[in-house]
Symmetry: C2
Subunit: 353 residues, 2 copies
């Protein structure tokens, strides 16, 4: 079976990090602990009394802000779907060796915090500022380079009003693994941009060239390809696998028909305009019904499809299309880092007689 | 490397279920979302308004209890360490194919609920009752058998005052993935006994012979061995890996010495009486210091070891011994189901010059 031969190093990552079991697609907001989690290094230990967010670089006035000071500022809440850029990596052949995600690296949370823009306005920016660098407290070695986790955004992107410095997730303080005490939330972008355990925000007068920006998280067709930066989430639909599972194979058996096939779909680029379902593995497609409430623009949209099968063997598949006209490929598009593999989900289903 | 060649079926389980990143050993009570999680089938969807706990079988009076009725009864709280019986399975060679745990399938939670004994006293039991069967709402196919998840306890074990029907974890309602609205908590026993999403409790006049009792969760040296039931947690010590990790290998680099090596140890049989640390992979051992507060009897105990190494390469290991005199083996003891592999943890560490 494609995907066999996972190495112990990949398994070590899979044992630490975790996806969202797909039946959790039933929740519009993913309960804490079911949201996907990827931690590059270790979860840092943070003494919140001593912790400060430093804001420096091309600013008018350097600042150092405590969590209480940030909490005293006007707060805002964003419901946002977040997906790892490497979701689908382990479905590529040959498989890029890193965190071996199949389909589950996604979740939607209700984040509360301060608009990044409010903090930028408080410090002011110099005329030459073009980029904003976010540095986490988490550090380690990656690609042979000892580093703290760092990613940058263009200033214009950072100033979007929905970009948050979040201190709450689903109404409770950020759990340690999701960035306590403060993380960046950039709705629409893949997870790597949403820097956790923020230590500092630095305004730059040039693009950032660090490891996670210039080497990792680039869509490269081969090792010689300079590639394109991975940024926003490509469209994807996922379904709650119908019926009940076999423990090991996760193959499904359906006993009662009709079946309400349900799922959610999202895109970081544009609203979802359609979801299609196939029960023959992608040979023929039918339109699913989108939920009435499109919800906030940064969150996934629910869909459903009533299916009345005869007993037999099926392969149920789903695919989304967004308002830019972008869909999902039938087969994976291989790339060096294993990013953005949005090849359609297929679930083997036996409808019992 | 031992453990290579993980199959896609194992990866599918590893992507759904998750261990506790070992740096989370720093928390005496594991934050929600970091506690290990194993779900045999799917997380069921429960309408708590319609939900009732049925108590039947060899009882004086069958009852059906709502969550409100259970919450109105006197409540009790237990801090308890829970470990999957399959923790360490993926460190066996050849590897039994199931959820491929390395070391991380553990966590400690603060559970609140009603003592099972209180509920048993409310329904009364008939003279012939000898066992208590717990049936979850979760179902699927396993070993070729369609089933609901079921496990039983001897009546005397079930009547221990610390055995809980828990509706809270760490002060909040049970998250869906940990058994909402009600689960069994049997302090000292491996995780499989702690049945989630309780549907019914049935008093039996004979041992339960279902799949999860008579086939799975038995320690069998070969396929012909009838084996022994897996019950309580064997002693184990785990450490927070020192220093910082390399992303993929998880190998560690230490920059600052001395190093406070810290961890926790537990046994379901008896209190932990000693923890030893080795920095040469288990050739020589030194006693670690146990934390003063042994804590509640069902929870892990903290320990620490001050280490002042010269620059160089080390393999740090730890091992626990409980008051029954049981320790941990240097090498795994192979068994068919891959249970109770408590072979000592070893962490490769480079101390930088």
């Amino acid at each position: 079976m494609a995907g066999d031969g996972i190495t112990r190093e990949e398994l070590q990552l899979a044992a630490r990090n975790h996806g969202m079991p797909l039946e959790a697609l039933r929740y519009p907001v993913t309960p804490v602990g079911l949201h996907y989690l990827l931690v590059h290094y270790d979860i840092p230990e943070v003494d919140v009394e001593a912790w400060r967010l430093r804001v420096d670089g091309e600013v008018q006035l350097e600042r150092s802000l405590s969590l209480d000071e940030l909490r005293a500022m006007p707060s805002t809440e964003v419901v946002s779907t977040m997906e790892c850029a490497g979701n689908g990596r382990a479905r590529l052949e040959p498989r890029p060796v890193s965190q071996p995600w199949l389909l589950e690296a996604v979740g939607t949370a209700r984040w509360r915090g301060v608009a990044l823009l409010s903090v930028l306005e408080r410090v002011g920016w110099r005329r030459g500022a073009t980029h904003v660098l976010f540095t986490g407290l988490d550090g380690g070695i990656e690609g042979g380079i000892e580093q703290r986790y760092q990613r940058a955004l263009p200033l214009a992107e950072a100033m979007r009003p929905e970009v948050l410095l979040a201190y709450e997730m689903n109404g409770v303080p950020l759990p340690p693994q999701h960035g306590f005490p403060l993380r960046l939330v950039t709705p629409g972008w893949y997870g790597m941009t949403n820097v956790k355990w923020l230590d500092s925000i630095t305004l730059l007068d040039a693009p950032f060239e660090g490891y996670q920006q210039s080497h990792a998280y680039r869509f490269r067709l081969d090792e010689d390809d300079e590639g394109m930066p991975v940024t926003r989430m490509q469209p994807r639909a996922l379904m709650v696998p119908p019926g009940v599972p076999e423990f090991l194979s996760r193959d499904r058996t359906v006993h009662e028909t009709p079946v309400a096939v349900r799922g959610r779909a999202w895109s970081g680029w544009a609203p979802i305009v359609s979801v299609d379902v196939s029960v023959d593995g992608g040979g023929t497609w039918s339109a699913a019904e989108l939920d009435d409430d499109a919800g906030p623009p940064w969150a996934w949209r629910g869909w459903s499809f009533e299916w009345s099968p005869e007993p037999g063997e099926y392969v149920v598949a789903c695919r989304a299309t967004d308002a830019r006209g972008t869909g999902q490929p039938a087969e994976p598009v291989w790339n060096v880092g294993g990013y953005s593999n949005t090849a359609v989900q297929r679930v083997a289903v036996t409808v019992a007689g």
